[in-house]
C-alpha cells in the first residue's frame, strides 16, 4: 500500500512544480509583450532631448533634398524644360525638353506629383508645433537654439512653398500640422502662397545666424549642436540664405523693387557667412565650389562623400556626363555644338572660347566639343573628387544660389526698375571674373545681356527655365511664350494620383 502511494505523491509534487513554472511564465506574459522597436521611434519617446530636435530639424532638410534629387528633379524642372539641352535616347527626357509634360512616363508623372515637397511642409510644421516640448524636457536645449531651429523650419517651409509655386502655380497652403487627419484642401492662388512665404521668411530672418558656429553670427550662440564653422556651411539656411530666397520670391512675383532691397542685403553682408565669389577654375574643379559643402553655396544641399550621402541620381552629372569623364558612352542629355557656340559668343570667355590663333575650342565647361559627343562637364564631382569615372557616384552639392547668381539677380532687378548704371556695375562683377570684360552694350540691351550671362554662368544649375519665364515676363517679346504664360502653360500638370486623392483639386487649366 505504502509503496503505491509514495510515487503518486512525488508525481503530484512534480506536476505541481510544472504548473508553478507555467504560472510564472504566464504572469510574465504582458511584460514579454512590451518591446520597443529598434528601427523606429514612437510618439512617446520623441521630442524629449536635444538630439531629437537635431534629428527632426535635419530630417526636414533631408526631405527637401530627397524631393529635389529624386529623378534629378531639380535639373529636369530647371535645365531641361524648354532649355538648351537635348535628350539623347530617353524619351521621357525628350518629353520634358519639348514641354510635353502630360506624357505618361513614370519619371514625368513623378515630377508632376508634389507629395515629396509636402512631406517637407509637414515635417517643418510638425517641428514648429512640437519642438517646444523639448525645452521642458532637456535643459541642454536652450531657448535661443530653439528659436534658431524654428526660424530655420519656417524659412525652409517658405522656400519649399516658393519652389512649388514656381512649378505648379496655385497650390494648397497648409500652415498647421494635421497628422493623421487627411483633410482635402483646395488650391490657393500662388500670390497668396508667395505672400505667406515672404512673411514667414521676414519673421524668421532675424533669428537666423549669419553663419552657424561662427564667432560673429549676429547671435549669442556660437557653437551650434556642438559644431563650429565651417561644419554647417552650405548645409543649413542662414540669414544670407533667407534674404537670397526673399529676393527670388520678389523677382518671381515681378516685385523688383523688393528684390533689389533683399539682394542688396546679400550683396552687402555675404562676407559674414563666409561666402565668396568663385573664380572660374573653382567653378569647374572636381573639388571646387560644388564639391562637398561650403559657405559659398548660399542655399545648398550637400551630398558629401565622407558622410556617405553621395549618390548616382540627384546630380546634373548623372544627366550630362559621359566618356571620357565616366565610362558611359553617351550622356542622357547634351547641348548641340551650335547652341554652345551661340551662347558663348564673346571672346576671351574663360568658360568657353575659341582660341583666336588656332580656332580650336578651349573650355572647362565642355569636353570633346566638335566631336559628335560634346559633354557638358562643368560640374563633375565624382566620389571624393576623383578623376576616375568608372564608378559614377557623385558628391556635388545641389546649389540653389551662390554669389554670382544673386549678383545677376540684383542686376536684373535693378535693370527692371530702371537703375541701368548700377545694374551694369553688378553685371560687370560677374563678367569681369569670367574674362569677358565690362558690358559695353546699350541700356536697351542690358536685360538681354544679364539673361545671356545667367544662361552662361548658371548652366546646369537648374535656372534656365525660370530665367526664361522671368525674361519673357519682363520683355514680353515672344508671343508664343507670352501665350504660354497667359494660359498657365508655364506650370506643370498635376499628377493623376494627386488629383484622384483630393477632390478639391483640379488639373491646371493648360493641361486639361
Amino acid at each position: 500500500m505504502y509503496n503505491k502511494i509514495k510515487p503518486a505523491r512525488n508525481v503530484i509534487k512534480k506536476i505541481g512544480m510544472f504548473m508553478l513554472i507555467g504560472t510564472v511564465l504566464l504572469s510574465g506574459c504582458n511584460k514579454e509583450l512590451d518591446i520597443d522597436s529598434t528601427h523606429l521611434v514612437n510618439e512617446s519617446n520623441n521630442w524629449k532631448s536635444l538630439a531629437d530636435a537635431r534629428s527632426a530639424l535635419l530630417g526636414s532638410y533631408g526631405l527637401l533634398r530627397a524631393a529635389l534629387a529624386d529623378n534629378n528633379a531639380h535639373w529636369l524642372y530647371g535645365d531641361l524644360r524648354m532649355g538648351d539641352f537635348k535628350a539623347t535616347s530617353r524619351l521621357d527626357l525628350k518629353a520634358v525638353t519639348e514641354n510635353n509634360l502630360n506624357a505618361p512616363y513614370p519619371v514625368v508623372k513623378s515630377l508632376s506629383n508634389w507629395r515629396k515637397f509636402y512631406a517637407v511642409i509637414n515635417s517643418c510644421t510638425v517641428f514648429i508645433d512640437r519642438a517646444g516640448e523639448i525645452l521642458k524636457n532637456d535643459k541642454q536645449y536652450t531657448e535661443e537654439n530653439y528659436k534658431i531651429d524654428v526660424a530655420q523650419m519656417r524659412a525652409l517651409r517658405a522656400f519649399t512653398y516658393f519652389y512649388m509655386a514656381r512649378i505648379w502655380g496655385d497650390i494648397p497652403l497648409i500652415t498647421a500640422s494635421t497628422d493623421g487627419n487627411f483633410i482635402e484642401r483646395p488650391k490657393v492662388a500662388s500670390e497668396i502662397v508667395l505672400q505667406f512665404a515672404t512673411s514667414e521668411l521676414l519673421a524668421a530672418v532675424n533669428a537666423l545666424p549669419y553663419r552657424y558656429g561662427a564667432l560673429q553670427n549676429g547671435l549669442n550662440q556660437q557653437s551650434y549642436y556642438g559644431k563650429v564653422a565651417p561644419y554647417w556651411d552650405g548645409i543649413l539656411l542662414n540669414r544670407i540664405s533667407a534674404y537670397a530666397i526673399l529676393a527670388h520670391i520678389a523677382a518671381w512675383q515681378g516685385k523688383y523693387l523688393d528684390a533689389v532691397a533683399y539682394a542688396k542685403f546679400v550683396m552687402t553682408n555675404f562676407g559674414l557667412s563666409g561666402a565668396i565669389y568663385t573664380t572660374t577654375p573653382n567653378l569647374t574643379k572636381v573639388d571646387g565650389l560644388f564639391y562637398g559643402n561650403n559657405a559659398s553655396q548660399l542655399v545648398g544641399f550637400p551630398f558629401n562623400y565622407n558622410t556617405a550621402e553621395m549618390s548616382a541620381v540627384g546630380h546634373i552629372e548623372d544627366l550630362v556626363l559621359a566618356a571620357p569623364i565616366i565610362s558611359k558612352a553617351v550622356p542622357q542629355i547634351k547641348m548641340p555644338d551650335d547652341v554652345i557656340a551661340g551662347i558663348f559668343n564673346e571672346a576671351n570667355d574663360l568658360r568657353f572660347r575659341f582660341d583666336p590663333l588656332t580656332g580650336l575650342p578651349v573650355s572647362d565647361y565642355f569636353s570633346g566639343y566638335g566631336t559628335s559627343n560634346t559633354v557638358f562637364s562643368k560640374i563633375k564631382c565624382i566620389r571624393n573628387a576623383s578623376t576616375d569615372g568608372t564608378l559614377a557616384i557623385y558628391s556635388s552639392a545641389l546649389v540653389f544660389t551662390r554669389m554670382e547668381e544673386i549678383t545677376l539677380l540684383y542686376a536684373e532687378s535693378l535693370a527692371a526698375i530702371g537703375s541701368m548704371d548700377e545694374a551694369t556695375d553688378a553685371l560687370d562683377i560677374v563678367r569681369n571674373s569670367r574674362g569677358i570684360g565690362l558690358y559695353k552694350g546699350t541700356n536697351a540691351g542690358l536685360i538681354d545681356a544679364i539673361f545671356a550671362e545667367r544662361r552662361r554662368e548658371l548652366m546646369g544649375e537648374g535656372w534656365r527655365w525660370y530665367d526664361l519665364v522671368r525674361y519673357n515676363k519682363l520683355k514680353n517679346n515672344d508671343p508664343k511664350f507670352t501665350d504660354l504664360i497667359k494660359k498657365g502653360g508655364i506650370y506643370w500638370p498635376i499628377d493623376e494620383e494627386v488629383l484622384s486623392t483630393n477632390a478639391k483639386i483640379t488639373q491646371n487649366e493648360y493641361w486639361r
Binding site: M19, H39, G62, L63, A66, P104, A119, V120
Partner: protein, 1007 residues
C-alpha cells in the same frame, strides 16, 4: 588583426569550416549542449535497467506509439477531428524525386495547395505556397510572406527570413543575402510524414501563425527495436534545354520593321552601334553562347540513418548530403543534413525527448547581370548587350569564375527538449524548442566585370524562434458512449530577426577581396573601411507572442465527434490597447454509416466547422502607432538616413502613416464536407466546400498628397475565398501477389477570391498598377483593349462635342499609336477604359497521381495542372518596347545573354510606333494577356524491389531500385516560355531560369 589592408587570397577568405554556427546565441548553445548531455546521461543510466524494464508491458505499447514522436503536436493530433482534416502527402512517392524544397515536394501532391516557382534556380527563395487561394492582394514581397502557411517540424514552428531586408533595397527581385529558400533544408528521406491542414477550425489549435494553413512535418524518430539502418541514394542529371539562338542580324531585321515604318532621320542616327555594323563578327557572327549557358548538370543525394534502442531509451541518427542543380548558368544547391533524436523514459510516467536537426545549405547562384546590378544597387551603361558569341561570353564567364567570390551559406538548426509526464488521466507536456537559422553571403565582383569597378559585400543574418510550451491534457470517459478530453496550454514564442550588411565599392585592387578596417585605436580612422567606399546597414526586430488555449473534445457513441477550441493570443507587435485577440472554433463530424444500409457504400460521414483565428503582422511597425523613422531616400539612394552627416528622424512619409487603434486582423471560415468510401473502401472520396474571409486586414490607402504621406495604413480590408475541393482515391486494381495493381489519386480544387471591403468604406483603390474593386477578385488584371493601329493622324477619332482629338490621358493620339477602345466614350483613353481579363491566380488547381504495381515493379506518374489563370507576357512587351527599354538605361533595361534566344513571333502583334509618347507597347493592354492554364506531366518513376529475391530477404528489409524523371511535358497555350515561371503577380519577365527536366537512378536500402 590590426593590420591595414589584409591582402588575403581567396582561400583564406572562404568561411572557416570550423565555425559552422558562427553566432548561435549563447543560451541556445548552452541549452543544446546541456540537453544532449542530460539525455545521454539518462540514456546510459536507463540502458542498464533496460532488460528489467522490457518486461513492463504497458510501456512497450507507449513506445511503439512513440514512433509518432512525443511532442506537443502528437497530443494535438490525438484530436480525432483535426486528424480527419489533414491531408497526408504520400511520402514514399515524393521522396524518390530530386525535389530540393518543401514547396516542390508538395506541389502536385497536396490538395488545394498552389505552389509557384518563379525561377528554376535550385534553392532560390523565390518560391511560394498558397493554401486555399489568395488571402490578400500581392502588392509587395511582404504580402507574399504574409500569405504563407506555417511549417512545423515535429511541432516546432519554423521561422523564415523576414522581408524587412527589402527596406534598404532599391530593387526587390530577391532579398539581399544568400536568398536561399530555408524550406530546402528539409531532407525528405528523414521525414516520416507530411500533413497539410487547410481547415481553419482544425488548424486553430496551432494559433495565429497557422492562419494561412499549416504544414506539419514529422521526422522519422527514434524508436525501440532492433537496430535499423537505412541508406538512400540517387544519382542523375538535369538535362540541358534546347533553344533557338539569334544574333545581331535577327535583332536588326526585327527592329527594321519599326524603323522603316516610323523612324525619323534623328532616330536612325541613334540606331544602336552594335547593330549598325553588319560586319561586326561579335554580334553578327555565330550565336553559340548556349554551349556555355545551358548544361547537363549532375545531381545526387546520399544519406544514411541508424535507429535503435530499448523501450526505455532509444535513438536515431541521420546524416545526408544532397546536391541539386539547375540546367542553366551553373546553378546548384548543396545540402548537408544531420539529425539526432533521443527518447528516454527514465520513470514510468515521464518521457524525455530531445532532437537536434541541423542543415547547412550552400548555394551557387546565377550569374545574371540584373541580379548583379540589383545587388550592387548600381546600373552601369547598358547600351550594348553582351555578344552572343561563345568566345566573348566565355571570356566573361572565365573572369567571373576565376575572380568572383560568391559564397552563400545557410545554417539551419532545430532542436527541442520535451518532457511528458502521465498520471492517471492527466498528460502533461512541457517543451522548449527552437528554430535557428543564419544566412551568410560573402561577395566580391572583380573590376574586370564592370567598367573597372570592383564590389564587395558581406551579409550576415540570423532568425531565431524560441518556444516554451506547456500543456496539460485530461481524458475522461463518462460512460461507454461518451468520451471527453480536455487540453489546456500556454505557448510563449520569441522571435528575433537580425541582419548586418555591408557594401563596399571601388576597392584598390582585385587582389584585395576583403573589406578590412583600421584596427588601431590610436589612429584617426579607427574602424574605418580601408580601400573600399562602404555603406553599412543593420536592422533587428523582436516579436513575442503569448498564447493561452483550451481544446475540448467530445465523442458520442463513436459516431458523433466535436472539438471546441478557444484561445487568446497576445502579440508584442500589436498596439498596447489591442494586444490580445480571442478566437474560438468548433469542428464537428457525424459518422452516418450505420444508418445507411448499402452494399456499395462503406462509409459516409458529414462534417462541418466554423471558426476564426487572428492573423499576425510580420513587422513591428504597426504596433508602434504614429512614429518617426529615417526616411530621406530618393531614386537610387533609397537608404540614406543622414543629412549633413547626422542621423535624422522624420515621419514615415514614403512608407505611410500609421495611426492608433489598429485591431487584430483575423480569418473566419466556414466549411462543410463529406467523406465517403465505396466498394470495400476501394474508392474513397472527400468533398469539401469552404468560405473563408480574411477580415480587418491592413491596407495602405493612398491619401491626399498634400499631407506629405503616400498612404495611410488602415484596417478594414476583407477578402473572401470560396472554394470546392474534391479528392478521390481509388484502388482500381487491387494489388495481389503476382497480379497487376493500380492506384489512382485525383485532387481538384476550385477557388474564387473576392474583395469584400476596403478601409474607409471605399469602393475601389488603385495602388501602383493594381486596381482593387469591392466585389471583384483581388488579383484581377485590368487592361486596355487594342483594336489595331491608327495608320495616320487623321484616323484618330475627334470628339464631335468639342472637336478635341482623342487622347491618352491628355496626350493626343497620332498615327502609329494603338487603337485602344474607348469604353466609356469620353474620347480620353485612361484607367476607366480598362477591362478585366482574368486573374493572376489560377481558379483551378489539381493533380492526378497514378501508380501501377506488378510483382516487385512500380510505375508511378503524376500530372499537375493549374487552370483559368492569366499571364502578362511582359517579356514580349519588353522586346517590342525596345526603344524605351534601352533608352531608359535602368535595371529593367538589362539584356541578359538570353536576349539572344528566339522570342516572340512579331507577326502576332500589331506594329505600333515604339517612339510614341503614349508608350504604345505598354504591358497593360490585352495583346499581352494570355491564357496561362497548363498541365504538366511532372514526374514518372519506375522501380523494382530486389528484396523480393530470396537471396536478399533475410538480411534486407527492403532494396528498392528505381529510375525517375521530372518535368517531362507541359501542355499549354501560352506562347512564351514555361507558364510556371511568372512573378507572383502574373508577369512573365523572362528572367526566370528554366525548371529543368531531370533524370535520376536511385536506390533505397533498409537493413
Amino acid at each position: 588583426m590590426n593590420k591595414k589592408n589584409q591582402a588575403l587570397d581567396s582561400d583564406l577568405n572562404q568561411l572557416q569550416p570550423g565555425c559552422l554556427f558562427k553566432n548561435i546565441p549563447k543560451k541556445m548553445g548552452l541549452f543544446l549542449v546541456l540537453s544532449t548531455m542530460i539525455s545521454c546521461a539518462v540514456n546510459l543510466q536507463s540502458h542498464a535497467k533496460s532488460t528489467a524494464n522490457l518486461t513492463v508491458a504497458c510501456f512497450q505499447d507507449t513506445t511503439k506509439k512513440a514512433k509518432q514522436q512525443v511532442a506537443i503536436d502528437s497530443v494535438i493530433l490525438v484530436s480525432y477531428v483535426s486528424k480527419s482534416n489533414t491531408d497526408t502527402v504520400k511520402l514514399n512517392q515524393v521522396s524518390k524525386y530530386p525535389f530540393i524544397s518543401l514547396q516542390q515536394a508538395l506541389k502536385s501532391n497536396a490538395k488545394g495547395l498552389y505552389v509557384q516557382e518563379i525561377t528554376g534556380e535550385p534553392g532560390s527563395a523565390s518560391q511560394s505556397m498558397l493554401l486555399r487561394g489568395l488571402s490578400r492582394p500581392l502588392l509587395s514581397k511582404a504580402n507574399v510572406a504574409e500569405s504563407q502557411p506555417a511549417v512545423y517540424i515535429n511541432g516546432i514552428p519554423l521561422i523564415g527570413d523576414n522581408p524587412f531586408v527589402y527596406n534598404v533595397q532599391e530593387y526587390d527581385f530577391s532579398p539581399i543575402g544568400p536568398a536561399t529558400n530555408l524550406l530546402s533544408a528539409i531532407d525528405l528521406d528523414n521525414i516520416q510524414s507530411i500533413n497539410v491542414i487547410s481547415n481553419l477550425a482544425a488548424v486553430s489549435i496551432y494559433g495565429p501563425r497557422a492562419a494561412n494553413g499549416a504544414i506539419l512535418i514529422t521526422t522519422k524518430n527514434a524508436h525501440q527495436g532492433n537496430r535499423e539502418i537505412s541508406v538512400n541514394s540517387y544519382f542523375g542529371f538535369a538535362a540541358k534545354n534546347k533553344v533557338t539562338t539569334t544574333n545581331g542580324r535577327d535583332e536588326s531585321l526585327f527592329r527594321n520593321i519599326f524603323y522603316n515604318k516610323y523612324a525619323t532621320a534623328e532616330d536612325f542616327d541613334k540606331y544602336p552601334a552594335y547593330l549598325a555594323d553588319a560586319t561586326n563578327e561579335n554580334y553578327y557572327g555565330r550565336s553559340d553562347w548556349t554551349d556555355l549557358y545551358y548544361k547537363n548538370a549532375a545531381l545526387h543525394t546520399i544519406n544514411a540513418s541508424i535507429t535503435g534502442g530499448t523501450s526505455r531509451s532509444n535513438f536515431r541518427f541521420f546524416a545526408g548530403n544532397t546536391s541539386n542543380a539547375g540546367n542553366a548558368d551553373d546553378t546548384r544547391l548543396n545540402r548537408y543534413n544531420a539529425a539526432f533524436f533521443i527518447n528516454v523514459l527514465p520513470l514510468k510516467w515521464l518521457t524525455i525527448s530531445t532532437m537536434v536537426n541541423a542543415t547547412r545549405l550552400n548555394r551557387d547562384r546565377n550569374r545574371s547581370l540584373r541580379d548583379r546590378f540589383a545587388e550592387m544597387q548600381y546600373v552601369p551603361d547598358l547600351i550594348s548587350p553582351i555578344a552572343p558569341n561563345k568566345t566573348i561570353y566565355g571570356n566573361y564567364l572565365s573572369e567571373y569564375e576565376e575572380k568572383t567570390i560568391d559564397n552563400n551559406i545557410n545554417n539551419v538548426l532545430q532542436g527541442s527538449f520535451s518532457a511528458n509526464a502521465r498520471y492517471k488521466n492527466f498528460d502533461f507536456i512541457t517543451r522548449i524548442s527552437f528554430d535557428y537559422n543564419e544566412g551568410m553571403r560573402d561577395l566580391f565582383y572583380p573590376s574586370t566585370l564592370m567598367d573597372g569597378n570592383n564590389y564587395i559585400s558581406n551579409f550576415y543574418a540570423y532568425n531565431q524562434r524560441l518556444n516554451i510550451d506547456n500543456s496539460i491534457a485530461y481524458n475522461f470517459k463518462v460512460n461507454k458512449a461518451q468520451v471527453f478530453k480536455a487540453l489546456f496550454g500556454h505557448t510563449l514564442s520569441r522571435d528575433v530577426n537580425k541582419y548586418n550588411y555591408l557594401q563596399g565599392y571601388k576597392g584598390t585592387s582585385d587582389y584585395i577581396r576583403i573589406n578590412s578596417v583600421d584596427g588601431d585605436v590610436n589612429e584617426g580612422d579607427y574602424l574605418q573601411a580601408q580601400g573600399f567606399f562602404t555603406k553599412k546597414f543593420t536592422d533587428k526586430q523582436k516579436i513575442n507572442i503569448s498564447s493561452l488555449y483550451g481544446s475540448f473534445d467530445y465523442t458520442l457513441n463513436n459516431e458523433f465527434f466535436a472539438t471546441l477550441v478557444a484561445r487568446t493570443d497576445g502579440a508584442s507587435n500589436m498596439q498596447a490597447n489591442n494586444r490580445w485577440f480571442f478566437s474560438p472554433s468548433v469542428n464537428t463530424k457525424w459518422d452516418i454509416t450505420k444508418y445507411l444500409k448499402s452494399a456499395v457504400l462503406n462509409n459516409l460521414s458529414l462534417n462541418a466547422s466554423y471558426g476564426r483565428l487572428g492573423t499576425l503582422n510580420i513587422t513591428d511597425v504597426y504596433g508602434a502607432g504614429p512614429q518617426y523613422v529615417s526616411d530621406l531616400g530618393w531614386s537610387s539612394n533609397k537608404s540614406v538616413g543622414s543629412y549633413g552627416g547626422i542621423g535624422t528622424l522624420s515621419r514615415p512619409y514614403s512608407s505611410g502613416w500609421i495611426g492608433y487603434d489598429i485591431p487584430w486582423a483575423y480569418v473566419q471560415a466556414l466549411e462543410v464536407g463529406t467523406d465517403a468510401a465505396f466498394l470495400n473502401n476501394r474508392l474513397q472520396t472527400r468533398l469539401s466546400f469552404y468560405s473563408k474571409t480574411n477580415k480587418r486586414m491592413l491596407l495602405g490607402v493612398p491619401v491626399n498628397a498634400e499631407s506629405g504621406y503616400t498612404r495611410e495604413y488602415k484596417s478594414g480590408m476583407d477578402v473572401n475565398n470560396k472554394g470546392i475541393e474534391l479528392a478521390i482515391s481509388a484502388e482500381i486494381l487491387k494489388a495481389k501477389a503476382g497480379e497487376l495493381g493500380w492506384n489512382a489519386d485525383f485532387n481538384i480544387a476550385f477557388n474564387q477570391n473576392t474583395l469584400k471591403a476596403l478601409p474607409n468604406n471605399l469602393q475601389e483603390i488603385t495602388i501602383g498598377n493594381q486596381k482593387l474593386t469591392v466585389g471583384k477578385p483581388v488579383d484581377q488584371i485590368l487592361v486596355l483593349q487594342s483594336q489595331g493601329v491608327y495608320q495616320t493622324d487623321v484616323d484618330v477619332p475627334v470628339n464631335p462635342a468639342n472637336f478635341q482629338i482623342m487622347t491618352y490621358k491628355g496626350l493626343k493620339l497620332h498615327g502609329g499609336d494603338p487603337k485602344w477602345k474607348d469604353q466609356n466614350g469620353d474620347y480620353v483613353i485612361d484607367e476607366n477604359d480598362k477591362v478585366a481579363m482574368g486573374g493572376y491566380m489560377p481558379r483551378i488547381v489539381g493533380n492526378f497521381t497514378s501508380s501501377f504495381s506488378y510483382k516487385g515493379f512500380n510505375l508511378d506518374f503524376n500530372i499537375y495542372f493549374a487552370l483559368k489563370r492569366s499571364i502578362i507576357n511582359q517579356s514580349a512587351a519588353n522586346q517590342l518596347d525596345f526603344i524605351n527599354k534601352t533608352g531608359n538605361n535602368n535595371i529593367n533595361s538589362v539584356n541578359e545573354i538570353t536576349f539572344w534566344q528566339k522570342g516572340i513571333n512579331v507577326a502576332d502583334y500589331p506594329i505600333y510606333n515604339p517612339w510614341s509618347a503614349v508608350q504604345s507597347y505598354r504591358s497593360d493592354q490585352d495583346i499581352f494577356i494570355e491564357n496561362g492554364s497548363y498541365a504538366k506531366l511532372r514526374s514518372v518513376s519506375l522501380g523494382y524491389d530486389i528484396s523480393k529475391f530470396r537471396y536478399f530477404n533475410k538480411t534486407f528489409r527492403k532494396i528498392y531500385v528505381y529510375a525517375a524523371a521530372l518535368n517531362l511535358y507541359t501542355l499549354k497555350s501560352y506562347t512564351g516560355g514555361d507558364p510556371e515561371l511568372v512573378s507572383y503577380t502574373g508577369e512573365d519577365t523572362g528572367y526566370g531560369l528554366p525548371i529543368p527536366r531531370t533524370f535520376t537512378l536511385g536506390l533505397k536500402i533498409d537493413l
